[in-house]
């Protein structure tokens, strides 16, 4: 039963991670990406990346709350799917949208603070994706955890990128901002103690009394 649910969780994560890409490819083949498909690809890959980033950040506190290693085991997979969509987001900008026209890219990547925030998030996450393998985890030892702390500034930059990139209506970006800040706050020692107590309590509640 335990192995079954472990497999199911992984399978579910794979499906959830690949389904948006499949949908994007399907919609492209059916000419359903609006009359401005390159823009639509940019918006969609950005949204998927942000949702997956939130799920990646949620996996640690969730596993602590549920006292479940299984949720934690999904973290790396979620992180890699996040990076996949961020890479697609960036490649769409570089290749399809600007076709390596570096005179335009210089202006639209480095002179626009909103783009710079997103690009910085991508650069911060790049070494995390590279060092996600078992070999690198062993090689880096204690430093691996220090390095992967970079996901926190990257997440904040991603939200800032979305906020500055929004046209007048910033409500959706603010919702993501609140969620990310909450997930970051759960890393504070005081919040860790609180969640530990909560999960103890719920465990006591569900256990049969003696």
């Amino acid at each position: 039963m335990a192995t079954l649910s472990r497999h199911w969780l992984r399978l579910l994560t794979y499906i959830g991670g690949l389904l948006p890409l499949g949908l994007l490819i399907w919609n492209y083949s059916q000419d359903q990406l609006t009359l401005n498909p390159i823009k639509e690809i940019q918006l969609r890959t950005g949204s998927y990346a942000l949702v997956l980033l939130v799920l990646t950040l949620a996996s640690t506190p969730l596993s602590r709350l549920l006292k479940s290693r299984r949720v934690l085991e999904l973290r790396r997979l979620l992180g890699l799917f996040t990076f996949m969509y961020i890479s697609l987001h960036f490649l769409n900008f570089l290749v399809l949208d600007y076709w390596f026209d570096f005179s335009l890219i210089r202006e639209d990547l480095f002179e626009k603070t909103f783009a710079l925030a997103g690009f910085s998030a991508f650069l911060l996450l790049l070494p995390l994706a590279v060092t996600s393998t078992r070999g690198w985890i062993v090689r880096l030892g204690r430093n691996w955890k220090r390095l992967h702390w970079l996901i926190f500034p990257a997440a904040l930059l991603a939200v800032v990128h979305f906020f500055w990139g929004s046209k007048a209506d910033v409500r959706e970006a603010l919702i993501y901002g609140v969620i990310v800040i909450l997930l970051l706050a759960l890393r504070l020692p005081v919040m860790k103690r609180l969640t530990a107590r909560l999960s103890r309590q719920s465990a006591e509640d569900t256990e049969p009394g003696f």
Partner: protein, 303 residues
């Protein structure tokens, strides 16, 4: 400047067959070049900095990619949301600082100012663009009929305010109704038209039926849709976008690749239906006709 003459109007189906023909010619030319290269001859140098052609955007594309926040902020859904928009009866009031204020019934207005065809590039501030064959009449004619007073310096336009029909107006993100403005010399310019149709057909609701402004050298948001009021005023009107984000949207909003926007490229644009970006032209390619209006002005300051 790159002018599109009315004589260049091509019906949509002919336009497409012409493009197929041109593609065929292109393929032949490429083959010839390739064969030529095989023979060891020098290939022709690529034509540099040639101004690209401006084929008309297909009718169907113009109808299904709209910024009309009174209906919805989703460009693809405006057409559906605007299906039942009531444009009859409709009146347009010309008033303010004029000697001859008047409220026109839309049919009387169009009878009095017969429309002509104008093909203009339309450049959205979001860095996409189209080429649209409008039917319309010059705003100058309508304003002259109203006899502006000497103190009138600006023209203020107002869209219908009717949240029952225009659900987007229930949103508090923007201050409704939609307001736009022009300096009176801009409004009197021959390129500035009031449009009542596209491709020779009556204006579709999603494009601003029954009557909208078209100012081709300014970003699209200046070309206010579904107009009910036009007032001559002394003070510079505050447009909806100026009120929403004064640092991003100025009163003039002239297409200008040298004035950057925090989000969208203003140096380049994507023509709807094309893959590669195009360079954006100063005043959207109408500099020769309109740049004199802004002589001596710092266009970075008055953006």
């Amino acid at each position: 400047m790159v002018k599109i003459n009315p004589s260049e109007i091509t019906p949509e189906h002919l336009f497409h067959s012409r493009r197929q023909f041109l593609t065929g010619i292109g393929a032949l030319a490429a083959t010839a070049l390739f064969l030529g290269a095989c023979r060891g001859e020098d290939a022709l140098p690529p034509a540099e900095e040639e101004t690209p052609e401006d084929p008309l955007t297909p009718y169907d594309s113009i109808l299904n990619y709209n910024n009309f926040y009174e209906f919805t902020t989703s460009k693809e859904d405006v057409a559906l949301m605007a299906r039942n928009f009531q444009t009859s009866p409709w009146t347009v009031t010309v008033g303010g600082l004029v000697n001859n204020p008047k409220t026109y019934d839309i049919d009387d207005l169009l009878a009095k100012f017969p429309p002509e065809e104008r093909i203009y590039r339309m450049r959205c501030v979001e860095a996409w663009s189209m080429v649209i064959p409008w039917t319309g009449f010059t705003l100058a004619g309508l304003l002259k009929a109203a006899e502006p007073k000497a103190e009138a310096r600006y023209v203020r336009f107002e869209t219908l305010y009717d949240p029952a029909q225009l659900p987007g107006q229930n949103s508090r993100v923007y201050q409704w109704p939609y307001i736009e403005g022009l300096r009176i010399d801009e409004a009197m310019h021959d390129l500035t038209i009031m449009a009542s149709g596209i491709y020779g057909k009556p204006m579709p609701s999603q494009n601003g039926a029954p009557l909208r402004l078209v100012v081709p050298w300014k970003y699209g948001f200046k070309s206010i849709k579904s107009i009910v009021r036009i007032d001559l005023v002394e003070e510079m009107p505050v447009s909806l976008w100026m009120a929403a984000s004064p640092s991003e949207y100025g009163f003039y909003a002239n297409v200008n690749p040298d004035v950057h926007h925090p989000r969208w490229s203003q140096s380049s644009e994507r023509r709807i239906g094309e893959i590669r970006r195009r360079r954006t032209l100063p005043f959207n390619g109408y500099a020769e006709e309109v740049s004199y209006l802004y002589e001596g002005m710092d266009l970075r300051k008055f953006f």
